[in-house]
């Protein structure tokens, strides 16, 4: 694989993972550079599983994963997860207000909470700060999840199908938010998407998975 510009963020070598009898990832090798990378592929290709490996929510059965040149297994999982923050596909906020969720995340990362800034970055009006999360729409919850991740000041955001449950208008708004995030923050994004058009809109680099293997990787304009 040829690298011209961005440094490698994650490097996966011969990564395999089985769940029960099913081989989810099959000797997957790929490099993910800094910037915005889209992981694309059909349903069941192993995209979400790959994302979970990158902040050690799961470990592979075999193979190696390096983050910034250092084996992932050498990182302490909790501090790694605060630096490489995963926003899951389904909103899963803790009971309470938007602010209590943001404060919880900031507290875990020992960061001062600037709730207004986090909400603004996630595309939510600051008045959402006191809202009960149970009363938010799915789109608002998704943004609150994003704001919660940002409250930790991560260096990498792992986004699992960030707009899959949303209508077109909300999807466009979240995409605009992500583009804005990249402009405002020194942050890399690794995003799972089943939609090649979305990958093209948001990504610089793309890794295409099929049946647990990386079958293609490269600059977005070359691959898609």
């Amino acid at each position: 694989m040829r690298w011209d510009h961005p440094p490698v963020l994650f490097e996966l070598g011969e990564v395999s993972l089985t769940r029960g009898d099913r081989c989810v990832l099959d000797s997957l090798s790929a490099a993910i550079p800094a910037g915005a990378t889209a992981i694309v592929g059909s349903s069941g290709a192993g995209k979400s599983t790959l994302l979970r490996l990158l902040n050690r929510l799961a470990d592979p059965n075999t193979g190696t994963i390096a983050y910034r040149g250092r084996p992932l297994s050498e990182y302490e999982p909790l501090s790694l997860r605060r630096e490489v923050s995963l926003v899951p596909q389904l909103p899963a906020l803790l009971e309470g207000t938007v602010e209590s969720n943001l404060a919880y995340a900031a507290g875990l990362a020992s960061k001062e909470l600037d709730a207004e800034r986090c909400l603004r970055l996630a595309g939510l009006d600051p008045e959402f700060v006191g809202r009960d999360v149970a009363k938010l729409s799915v789109g608002e919850q998704q943004r609150a999840m994003l704001a919660r991740a940002l409250a930790q000041g991560p260096k990498v955001l792992l986004l699992d199908e960030p707009t899959s449950a949303l209508d077109h208008a909300t999807r466009d708004a979240i995409e605009a938010t992500l583009a804005e995030l990249r402009r405002e923050l020194e942050i890399s994004i690794v995003m799972v998407s089943h939609d090649p058009e979305q990958a093209r809109r948001l990504g610089d680099w793309v890794v295409r998975l099929e049946q647990g293997r990386a079958i293609e990787a490269g600059p977005i304009e070359e691959v898609l």
């Binding site: 769940r19 029960g20 902040n55 050690r56 929510l57 799961a58 470990d59 999982p77 909790l78 501090s79 790694l80 997860r81 605060r82 923050s85 995963l86 926003v87 899951p88 389904l90 899963a92 906020l93 803790l94 009971e95 919880y104 995340a105 875990l108 990362a109 999840m145 919660r148 991740a149 930790q152």
Partner: protein
């Protein structure tokens, strides 16, 4: 404080009329419990008769080693029984065994140390049986709830782990709810005791001709001891069992479906 009453086998047999009534209601209303009622009746007869003879022997021997052996057997069977109610909790047996053993040991140790009961077989066997039995029920309910909560809230727990929370932090809300579930039944029945129902010990003493004041005092002591033991058992069972859902790298383990 007690006198004793003597009941003939015929009197016990006469009470089977109520069992027949229960089976008839089940049959009439198609509750499909006739077989279970029959098994429950037979098992209760065999088990209580056997334990009656065992207790008689232990009372006559009056040695603490036999008391501890009997209580240890109760703890093991209690843990095995509670495990069957906590199928969704991986490796539930050891947390339950430790919880029941420590709940029983601590509660009995305290009531003896505080001078409530003498350390003799006559007190330790029945009180130990009640303490371990209630601890078993409470920890079984708590772990049953914990298993359901952990299965239903995987997304939420993993999302919290993804923020860099420890397994303990991620599981805390569900552990708290499970502990509450385990304790709530006894707390509620303690609240209503004397108003809505008379607890078994008090009923037994009154039937045996004891002074009502003595019956009430003994019942209060037992209720308070049970509250303590249920709290200890629920706390230990949930605090030890939730760990089995996580790896040492603070990852949620994959559970077998079903």
């Amino acid at each position: 404080m007690s006198t004793s009453i003597h009941l003939s086998p015929g009197q016990v047999a006469a009470s089977l009329a109520l069992v027949a009534l229960a089976a008839a209601i089940s049959f009439w209303q198609k509750a499909d419990l006739e077989r279970d009622i029959g098994i429950a009746t037979a098992r209760s007869f065999v088990q209580l008769t056997a334990i009656g003879y065992a207790i008689k022997l232990i009372f006559e021997a009056d040695t603490l080693w036999l008391v501890f052996a009997l209580l240890a057997v109760m703890v093991v069977f209690g843990a095995l029984t509670a495990r069957s109610r906590a199928k969704k909790v991986p490796g539930a047996f050891w947390p339950l065994l430790i919880a029941l053993a420590l709940a029983g040991g601590t509660t009995l140790g305290l009531v003896v140390a505080l001078g409530v009961f003498e350390p003799t077989a006559r007190y330790l066997v029945p009180v130990g049986g009640m303490v371990i039995g209630n601890a078993m029920t409470a920890s079984a309910v708590a772990l049953n709830r914990l298993g359901d909560e952990m299965a239903d809230s995987r997304n939420k727990i993993e999302a919290t782990l993804a923020l860099g929370a420890t397994a303990q932090e991620a599981a805390a809300p569900f552990v708290h709810r499970a502990l509450r579930s385990g304790m709530i039944a006894l707390v509620d029945s303690t609240k209503t005791t004397g108003l809505i129902f008379f607890p078994g010990t008090m009923v037994g003493m009154l039937l045996a001709g004891a002074n009502p004041t003595d019956a009430v005092r003994l019942q209060l002591i037992l209720l308070y001891a049970l509250l303590g033991s249920v709290a200890i058992a629920g706390l230990l069972a949930t605090a030890l069992a939730y760990r089995n859902f996580f790896t040492s790298a603070q990852q949620l383990i994959e559970l077998e479906p079903g």
